[in-house]
Symmetry: C2
């Protein structure tokens, strides 16, 4: 073993955290060849005792090296220096002399009406990332959920549950959600009005798939959540764009459109609209509800982060009012848990849910029934509700902190309105500053910041990005 104690001497007064100092030292040792590929590192315990540091510091340092691909964990061997080092462009699979059939492009040609999407965060190579507004998994009750999941797996009834789950998703979870939605946003529905899905996105894809046929028209906001627009176009629908101001979508214009020709669908995000974060004003809401009833307008209300609002009197969703069965309400639990745990739901009239169940089966035969059952338990015993209360408080503080910081540090560069909810601020940059250029320069310094192109899906250059907190 190398004399790590003399090789690694962290400076506790440095601005660089100790764990990063250690990780950086290892990177040097590996890239200089002092530590050879495949050689074993001391365990975190040993290393902690060698360097007289807390073991958590060593764990964090190893994690950093692992994330950067410098080391790997091999069962029963421990932590080794990677065989494939990041500076040597890894070629993990030997190229075959004879080219594989999958080395070619398809022999048949592809239809060309699939849309491109440039919305992609490339995390690698960036130390810091300003994202679109993702939940913080560290505060989420993921561990409780997984514990409950394991407990369920040990029950004798697991086989039956795992094979013959309910088609619309766990009945226990739907019952819990019916109560939760009544309590938190006044929605009056039954479990038979609800379909569980893999995140709100899938609910949206399914709902749109039932309503839209090629040539259909959809009213959307401009700008709009880009993946919603893509879905509608994928189904061959035509978008009718209606502007958004600080009070939400322009409802008068929706009325004008309806008067001319009733559209097949209205897609709306009344709370913390994506990307602009504005909330639909109360008077517009009333007027819109009247239009929905009058025209029997099919509406998808995407309310993906209602649970995170910071004003004392939030406006209730359209779904909670008298809408004649026309509103399909879509919600998400992913924001309350972790981006990797996708739980979404759709609420609609029963005839609609029955169609949705059929389409869902074609796309995804079933959800993870056991995980849904585990989640139902967390609602039943109040863990989810408690977590939500805590995290709303936390995100509220973070919002205020980020707003203050933006005003102080970038007051002459950006403008924004304080969002009433959600996990992001819609930050407009002064036209003098070009976002693509900022994004490029930031990237060179290890900071990922969107170049704003994902939000420019219309003809307008927003020169704005969402900043998650």
């Amino acid at each position: 073993m190398l004399p790590f104690k003399t090789l690694i001497v962290p400076d506790k007064k440095s601005a660089i955290p100790v764990y990063l100092q250690i990780a950086n030292k290892f990177v040097t040792l590996i890239s200089e060849g002092t530590l050879k590929p495949g050689s074993a590192l001391p365990s975190t315990r040993e290393m902690a005792s060698l360097l007289q540091l807390h073991r958590k510091t060593i764990v964090a340092a190893y994690e950093e090296l692992f994330v950067q691909d410098w080391i790997e964990t091999i069962p029963r061997k421990g932590v080794l220096v990677s065989q494939h080092l990041p500076d040597i462009k890894p070629r993990i699979f030997k190229a075959n002399k004879k080219r594989s059939a999958y080395g070619l492009a398809t022999g048949f040609s592809l239809p060309d009406n699939i849309l491109n999407s440039s919305f992609r965060i490339n995390a690698s190579g960036h130390r810091l990332i300003i994202n679109d507004g993702f939940p913080d998994i560290r505060i989420a009750p993921v561990d409780l959920l997984v514990k409950e999941y394991r407990r369920l797996c040990h029950r004798p009834a697991v086989q039956r549950l795992a094979i013959y789950g309910e088609q619309a998703g766990s009945m226990n979870l739907r019952k819990e959600l019916v109560r939760f939605l009544a309590d938190t946003r006044g929605i009056d529905c039954q479990p038979s009005n609800m379909l569980m899905s893999r995140g709100a996105q899938m609910s949206l894809f399914i709902a749109a798939g039932i309503i839209l046929r090629p040539g259909a028209t959809v009213i959307v906001a401009e700008p709009n959540y880009h993946l919603a627009d893509q879905i509608f176009q994928q189904y061959g629908a035509k978008l009718v764009k209606v502007p958004v101001d600080h009070n939400g979508i322009d409802v008068d214009m929706i009325e004008k459109i309806c008067k001319k020709k009733k559209p097949d669908l209205l897609y709306i995000i009344p709370h913390h609209h994506h990307p602009t974060t504005v909330t639909l004003g109360g008077d517009r809401r009333m007027k819109l509800l009247q239009l929905i009833r009058q025209y029997n307008l099919a509406v998808i209300e995407d309310d993906y982060d209602y649970d995170f609002h910071y004003s004392s009197s939030p406006i209730l969703p359209l779904a909670s009012a008298d809408h004649g069965g026309n509103v399909i309400y879509i919600g998400s639990l992913t924001k309350t848990l972790s981006p990797s745990m996708r739980f979404g739901y759709m609420i609609a009239a029963e005839n609609f849910i029955n169609e949705a169940i059929r389409l869902r089966r074609m796309i995804n035969i079933r959800g993870d029934d056991l995980m849904e059952e585990a989640l139902a338990t967390l609602f039943h015993d109040g863990s989810m509700q408690r977590h939500l209360k805590k995290s709303v408080k936390l995100y509220h503080q973070r919002r205020d902190y980020l707003c203050a910081l933006l005003k102080k540090e970038l007051g002459d560069v950006v403008s924004f309105e304080v969002p009433q909810g959600g996990m992001a601020i819609w930050v407009k940059f002064n036209k003098k500053y070009s976002l693509p250029a900022i994004s490029r320069k930031a990237s060179q310094k290890g900071l990922y910041i969107s170049d704003g192109s994902a939000y420019n899906i219309g003809s307008v250059n927003q020169n704005a990005i969402r900043m998650g907190f």
Copy 2:
């Protein structure tokens, strides 16, 4: 507390298992009103000591009661008699005087080209179920997987992993699968040829969505996996049905069709075809490959349970041969784990995978990256491979056992061929016996058996069902 020791006296010599006797006694006590709704039951430990039985017996009895909805578990209160008893038709949610907007049907009308599906197992009320061939979750390494998942959740890198996963699914898992597929079925591909999805079904939905436009033609087997036919029709495609005999699909007929007009897609299940379980013969396979190259035919090869074959020399998938990049190969890990854990993958040329990634994001923004990482570890340390070996042996024995039993007990009623793989036997009933009648009668005795209608999607009455082992 009731004097359970005198109330419950199990008869150890009875043919009814002790745990069921106990459960039944409880049902009597509850339905007679001796045990009131909401009243607490002794813990399993107490009860075991009271009745001087093993605790596992009591756990099983409580499970039975739980499954039947007689009892419920309330955190920090223990096990209680349900508030909503199964004999009183439960009306969990009070009907509102004023009818909820979701109590209506939608005000707008729905397009009517969504297909119906009668394929549904109603487990409730059935003690025994003959299913389509589902894996046995009790032997699967689900617990190992969940343990690994929890371990990942505790790592400092979890936040990054959970937010910024790879678009095509975990890179580690795809690397492991590339090795696994090369080892087990000679497929030569790279991680960039692979997209992870929620089960094989979603891969099928995505692949078809890229290839098919309204009016397209698809060659399918008759009979065929019903949810595949539904997907193609959902996309507005026309089915061209080609018969299946004991050597698989009729390849000569496929050639004739191609000569007339090249179809847009061929959908094929060469191994253990669903529902008939036949495997495509070697000579037909060669001829089909030649057709695929000659016509640049787009092919979806659905190979959902290749891993479960019991003959010594299985035929390799089309995807492993020279197909000019035209074969889209779809596989599943769900059969190796649990029906509730949906892991599927698609292998195709890179240009196709890139389109598939775009469509996948519209449907399901991402998979469960953490669970995929956990699964990669199980492949990396060999747990999955070991489990697979063990379970293939077990299903092999079960197949032989069920075949012998069918021959012995129902030899004059049914006919079948021993399947080379998979988890089900395609059992044809003598025309004298009508499956819907058998199904009805069996149901009255607590046995679920399909009425065969799900397999009659063509014009032919198969009078046959799949029996899973």
